[in-house]
């Protein structure tokens, strides 16, 4: 017995020692890398004049809780540096992909963060309804900034029952079709400017590739538990085009039923592309393969020359560099995007987009100051400087030349161009039971098991909460 006890001790020791040694090795490796990491940015001297309004916040701390993680989180934190430098405040950043589940837990237990970034207006609405005491109306400084620097509609997205609860942060544009400029040039295709031209181009591509190995469209709607959302974006984009922005608003606010004939027409139009065996799914498989392909991979066949077009938002550009860091995303590069065309080139052009919103759970001066900073052009410009690609805001004073990637510049141009009518992503505005529930799952069924248009629309209509 004594011997076995002894050997337990030795073994335990060995395990602990092994673990400790590993930790030391890893720590050592981590240390040596710090100097050359990508976190280095050129420390430009900051002009603190614009920050005097926030006062001296030396020693104060603001906690921020968001859905943004990894590299994008680093870029977020970099954009706070001028504020921290000039006011002396410290921003404690925390990102989690479980944000939407964890935020209500924190609010309930009284440990809400000072600031949270809400990715959908629908989620904001339910937060305000569920925790009216925890979530605070936007302070005066930030509210004034929203009036000055943002359009009326962006203010509306953060407003619940007439009170402004959230200020806009980032934005993205979803009405884009990704394509390969060189493939288009080789085949002699022009970028379509109307829906009819888009369909004609698709037919042309089918005709030019009789073997059927190259197809006009590729898509993927897989996204873990959110599988289906890229299909809802497709649908929203087409509703905007076939039924128009007014009907779109009624549809999103449920003033017309979800299975309204105009919506059914739009779904049929989506089906004429996404459920057309001749059009999809280039380089991946048949129609049902759309449901099993991750949205992050959906456009990759373009690079292999197996597919011509992929409809996806501006933020998809980050995926190209993940696929191959050498891919050039530009009008004269390997991949680029064109505006998803509307009914006609002259009439008002609908633009679908999304964005995040900032809410505060504390009214301490430093929290209010930080929220005001996030609505200011200084922050938008700092963020643009810190982000190589994949970010823009709807701030009117954002310096466009600071946006570093061509697609971000194009997005910002469209966003601030008056001839484009902006509409916020509908599924983000709908109640969560639909917008983050049945709309996703039914669109997935629609593709995966070829569920009929009417059955899909009826099922979503039936799931709309009755209050």
């Amino acid at each position: 017995m004594a011997r076995s006890t002894l050997s337990v001790k030795r073994r335990t020791l060995a395990a602990v020692a092994g673990g400790a040694a590993l930790a030391i090795v890893l720590t050592a490796c981590g240390g040596s890398d710090d100097g050359g990491g990508e976190g280095d940015t050129e420390a430009a001297p900051v002009d603190c004049a614009a920050y005097e309004q926030y006062g001296d916040l030396e020693g104060k701390t603001v906690t921020v809780y968001t859905t943004i993680v990894d590299t994008e989180a680093d870029q977020q934190q970099q954009s706070y540096e001028p504020f921290e430098e000039c006011t002396g405040a410290t921003i404690e950043y925390e990102g989690s992909k479980e944000f939407e589940a964890q935020l209500p837990v924190r609010i309930q237990s009284g440990s809400a963060p000072d600031i949270a970034y809400i990715p959908q207006p629908g989620f904001l609405k339910s937060l305000v309804q569920d925790y009216p005491d925890a979530i605070l109306p936007v302070g005066d400084a930030a509210s004034e900034n929203v009036d000055t620097y943002y359009t009326e509609s962006w203010r509306d997205y953060g407003t619940v029952d007439g009170t402004l609860y959230a200020t806009p942060l980032g934005a993205n544009v979803k009405s884009f079709v990704w394509y390969s400029p060189s493939m288009f040039e080789e085949a002699g295709y022009e970028i379509p400017t109307t829906w009819d031209e888009l369909v004609a181009l698709s037919d042309q591509i089918v005709e030019d590739n009789p073997e059927g190995d190259v197809k006009p469209w590729c898509a993927g709607i897989g996204s873990g538990e959110a599988t289906g959302w890229p299909a809802t974006d497709w649908m929203e984009d087409v509703v905007l085009r076939t039924a128009g922005p007014e009907v779109y608003d009624q549809w999103v606010n449920h003033e017309i039923p979800f299975n309204d004939p105009q919506i059914a027409d739009a779904l049929a139009s989506v089906g004429s592309v996404l459920k057309n065996e001749n059009y999809v799914n280039g380089g991946i498989g048949d129609v049902s393969s759309i449901a099993t392909t991750e949205f992050t991979e959906g456009g990759y066949p373009i690079v292999d020359g197996l597919c011509y077009m992929h409809r996806q938002a501006s933020f998809y550009q980050a995926n190209w560099s993940t696929l191959d860091p050498d891919l050039k995303v530009a009008e004269d590069g390997d991949v680029f995007a064109f505006y998803f065309p509307g009914e006609s080139a002259d009439a008002e052009k609908p633009l679908l987009g999304g964005g995040e919103f900032v809410v505060s759970f504390a009214d301490r001066p430093e929290v209010q100051a930080f929220q005001a900073y996030l609505t200011s052009p200084e922050w938008s410009n700092a963020k643009a400087t810190a982000t190589p690609q994949g970010w823009l805001s709807a701030n009117k004073e954002l310096d466009k030349s600071l946006l570093q990637s061509p697609i971000d510049q194009l997005s910002y141009e469209l966003l601030t161009d008056d001839s484009y009518v902006f509409r916020f992503d509908g599924s983000d505005m709908m109640p969560a039971a639909v917008g983050a529930g049945s709309f996703w799952t039914e669109m997935t069924e629609w593709i995966a098991s070829n569920k009929s248009d009417t059955a899909v629309l009826d099922a979503i209509e039936a799931s709309w909460p009755t209050s």
Binding site: C29, G95, S96, E294
Partner: protein
């Protein structure tokens, strides 16, 4: 080897064993028969096939973790054999990919895991001793109540516990995680260790008592040495559970300075999941420590599992 042998004849005559002939009692004969059935060729083959099938996904993950991102996206891991192309890039990206330092998460994991294993074992040993060897009123009812606590799903306790930690002003430190893991582990720990202690012959404890030993002495000099396999077994259980836990860590300690490695793993693929090719590498970095612990302590793990189940 596989020729059936009548009950009365001897079983195993391999020269190395050199056992006596014809003098086996019934128990030995039965053991021999058992050995023969369990060591039959077909059984071995089935076991090996199962083991291989069971290991294939892990093996695939290992191969994948060394393949270039582009290949991971395009083809399955099995194509790596016909077209071998390997890289350590995934590992370096997972470790140093963003400014977040993987090593500090690893250290956090240790800081969380060690107390979260030691605290419940210490408390459970004391409680189990009391339940097993001290007679007091309501002992059985209390024991059943403790055991019944296992039924409470931890999800329902998250919000009340967190509010309590906020009231005490300890949220954001390691304490909520240590305390929560201890709370969740105690019912099972007490139950397991109590059963082990009950199995120790009463005579042993009574003999010690006759010699004048008190509870403290009995606990440390008589029972503790006998309990080592049980403690090691539960220690491994608890270690693996805490090391792999994400829920408790996310709820009670996802602030960056106290977040363990699982929290980092969960965000490794990026906000929109674009870099999922890093996940196999991340998974293998994260399992190194549990594998070391398991291999080092596995004898006690197996023995501990058996020790509670059979008397005599």
């Amino acid at each position: 080897m596989s020729i059936p042998i009548p009950d009365t004849t001897i079983v195993d005559e391999t020269p190395e064993q050199g056992k006596g002939v014809g003098k086996l009692d019934r128990l030995d004969r039965r053991a021999g028969a058992l050995r023969r059935t369990t060591s039959s060729k077909s059984a071995s083959i089935i076991a090996i096939v199962l083991a291989v099938l069971w290991t294939i996904p892990t093996f695939g993950l290992l191969v994948t973790s060394f393949r270039p991102a582009r290949e991971i996206r395009r083809t399955g891991w099995w194509t790596a054999f016909s077209n071998p192309e390997f890289t350590l890039e995934n590992y370096s990206d997972a470790l140093y990919g963003s400014s977040t330092d993987f090593a500090s998460y690893l250290v956090n994991s240790f800081v969380i895991t060690l107390p979260a294993v030691i605290i419940p074992i210490t408390l459970a040993l004391l409680a189990a001793y009391a339940f097993a060897w001290i007679d007091f009123r309501g002992r059985n009812i209390l024991f059943v109540a403790v055991f019944a606590l296992q039924i409470v799903p931890i999800q329902v306790t998250l919000v009340p516990l967190l509010s309590q930690y906020v009231n005490w002003g300890i949220d954001g430190s390691f304490w909520p995680i240590w305390l929560s893991h201890s709370i969740f582990a105690l019912p099972l720990a007490i139950f397991l260790l109590h059963n082990f202690m009950k199995d120790i012959p009463r005579e042993l404890v009574e003999a010690a008592r006759v010699d004048g030993a008190g509870h403290v002495r009995i606990f440390f000099t008589v029972l503790m040495p006998l309990l080592v396999p049980a403690i090691a077994a539960f220690g491994i259980f608890q270690f693996l559970w805490v090391w792999n836990d994400l829920l408790v860590a996310l709820t009670f300690g996802s602030a960056r300075d106290v977040a363990p490695i699982t929290v980092r793993l969960a965000e490794l693929s990026g906000s929109r999941g674009a870099s999922w090719h890093l996940l196999p590498a991340g998974a293998f970095i994260a399992i190194i420590v549990p594998v070391i612990v398991f291999l080092a302590l596995q004898r006690y793990f197996v023995r501990g599992l058996l020790a509670g189940s059979v008397k005599g």
